[in-house]
Point group: C2
Chain length 384, copies 2
């Protein structure tokens, strides 16, 4: 039990500074989540170097984003989500296709000639990581709007597209792409969703029984959180991201009569410790090294591609599906955040020799900047 | 952000099984905390080997016990605690002296002749780790009783005695014990308590101001938790244990008008994640290896010494100070748990060649058994 007690100080600093910066950003009419992200940058190697992104921070941050998406699932209007499946699919596909094209173009500007590397960089920025956008919607109390359902539905489909794309590019890169491997990836996804539907219905009934017998007691919220963690774990076992599993767990409980009780307890756990660590952990990964003139230009172009591809692609997709202009902009803004998936794909690509290592810092910078910009854009798009 | 996602499954299992076993032990009229400890044993290498005690579990468990003691501090009746300082001191000293004598006797039976090793083993079992007892009192709603104040006060003094003893035995063992080093240790303790009194008063005022200005809002509970973590960290910097710092932080806020709000939020954070991990983590460390006939006998004798020394020592100390028979038994029962301090001292002793390594397993077994027995005894001592 002898542990490096410095980490207790790090938790104290994270709690204090994320809230403090959040209060300041709220004062200047920015979302609190922006303040929390900035707090991480301040604490990390980029500024004061008081905390490092170690494994424990990483795990607690992961629990944080899992709990955020579990909460978002519980708050989702399931009927609205179901009715928007088709439009969500179009929004997701449009955003992904334009992102690949945009990333390709940005890379082309640097490499000078079209190559597999250009395509690979397009794939890196293809996937949305909707957690920050969803938290901003949560903070604004807008999670039950039609646009929010569109964003969440598209984010889930985006996650599926992301893993299929990853399988494709890694297969292509290693020269071993086969119909069988793509079919296996798709098969696993379908299996997971079939399983998730069954598990969701079973959990809904089971928790209903616990509630009928024992009322709104601790066991209800503790078992629900265990269910959320289990679904998050299983989603990763099927190749999806853990937050998709957590979101589905929340969705399964969203129609119960005790959902307000569960949400209340989950939210306390989230804001008291886990989500501050999650937001700070993103900022902790920011470093301002590894840039030269060329990579800085690449970074700017890639950022532009990342922003425009989702704003235009997802926005137009939404518009085609009958959303209003205003809602289309909201959806576009909600989809621009990139996240750990982009960083993971980039890391794997460098490891497999598919991409030049000097492009890693610019890609991380693009991820961080989209994360900082999205909540601000979302707030602007939702305010009158 | 690529993490070993197996740990998400471990968290799911811990949450489910600690609550499930807790429900069962409650059914058979045992404290829930016993079930949670057993859940850890089941999950760990001793039985099903589904989880291991890694650094992340250790840190989250540490946050768990810190939050438990923070909560206990907020629930403490400060006036009652202050009025029982003298009796707490006598209770603590009597328990520590008898523990050293008992440990010495148990070791003597094995080694055959009195030695420094015998004395060292006495020191190992000298210190109480009151967290489990305090949680059992919390669960029974008995934290505001006179006996509970006696136990908590004695536990804090016990912590102080523990570090002085550790400094003494390490100094003696290395042949470098000097008046200066003992004075330095004592000086640090006094400095910390002077600092803690100042910080406690300042925090009490500061949080009062935040509450007056903003009401019972999230910032109040988040900043309070940050303050708790900071005090826990600082206590360790001064050589005390982190839980003593956390307890003092809770105590500083115990007299505020918003203490119920803080306790409510802290308790949700605790029971939803942190304290299940803390209890499970103790069980995860149980292994049934490293025993032979001789060490098994030693283990039995040391256990007997550990139990009787605190029951008799602390109980008689309490009786002398005017507690009733019943209260004296309650206090004795509340003081028998040993914890990480014993394990740490034993580990250091082996490292410094002060103790035979074969005695480590029996010592861990004694710690675990006292942890399992204490809540049961406490419940019996408090029931009519």
């Amino acid at each position: 039990m002898v542990i490096d007690n410095h980490i207790i100080l790090v938790f104290a600093l994270i709690l204090f500074l994320t809230k403090f910066c959040g209060i300041i950003t709220k004062r200047i009419h920015l979302p609190q989540v922006v303040g929390a992200l900035v707090a991480g940058v301040l604490l990390g190697p980029a500024v004061f170097n008081l905390a490092e992104h170690n494994e424990t921070i990483s795990v607690v941050a992961d629990l944080g984003v899992i709990v955020l998406l579990f909460s978002a699932g519980m708050e989702t209007d399931f009927k609205q989500l179901r009715s928007s499946v088709k439009s969500s699919a179009l929004i997701a596909v449009a955003g992904v296709v334009l992102s690949i094209a945009g990333g390709f173009a940005a890379a082309l500007f640097i490499t000078g000639e079209p190559s597999f590397e250009c395509f690979f960089i397009g794939v890196i920025i293809a996937s949305t990581s909707a957690s920050i956008g969803i938290e901003a919607l949560h903070e604004m109390g807008r999670l039950k709007t039609k646009s929010a359902s569109g964003i969440i539905g598209a984010a889930v489909i985006d996650d599926i597209l992301g893993i299929v794309l990853l399988a494709v590019v890694l297969g292509l890169g290693e020269g071993g792409l086969s119909v069988a491997s793509i079919a296996a990836t798709l098969g696993k996804i379908i299996l997971f969703f079939l399983f998730a539907i069954g598990a969701g219905f079973a959990a809904n009934k089971l928790f209903g029984l616990i509630n009928s017998k024992f009322g709104e007691t601790r066991r209800l919220s503790i078992f629900a959180l265990a269910f959320c963690f289990l679904m998050a774990y299983l989603a990763e076992q099927f190749g999806l991201s853990d937050i998709t599993g957590a979101y589905i767990a929340g969705l399964a409980l969203s129609s119960t009569r005790f959902v307000d009780y569960l949400e209340d307890k989950t939210n306390v756990l989230s804001y008291m410790l886990l989500s501050p660590v999650f937001f700070a952990s993103i900022g902790l990964q920011v470093v301002f090294t590894g840039f030269n003139g060329k990579t800085a230009v690449f970074c700017g172009l890639l950022l532009l591609s990342a922003l425009l591809s989702k704003l235009l692609g997802c926005g137009l997709g939404a518009k085609i599906c009958g959303y209003s202009n205003r809602e289309s902009v909201q959806i576009g803004a909600g989809m621009i955040t990139r996240g750990e998936v982009s960083i993971i794909i980039a890391g794997r690509g460098i490891g497999a020799g598919l991409m030049d290592a000097s492009l890693f810092s610019p890609i991380i910078a693009v991820v961080i900047i989209t994360v900082l910009i999205a909540p601000v854009l979302l707030k602007a798009a939702f305010s009158k």
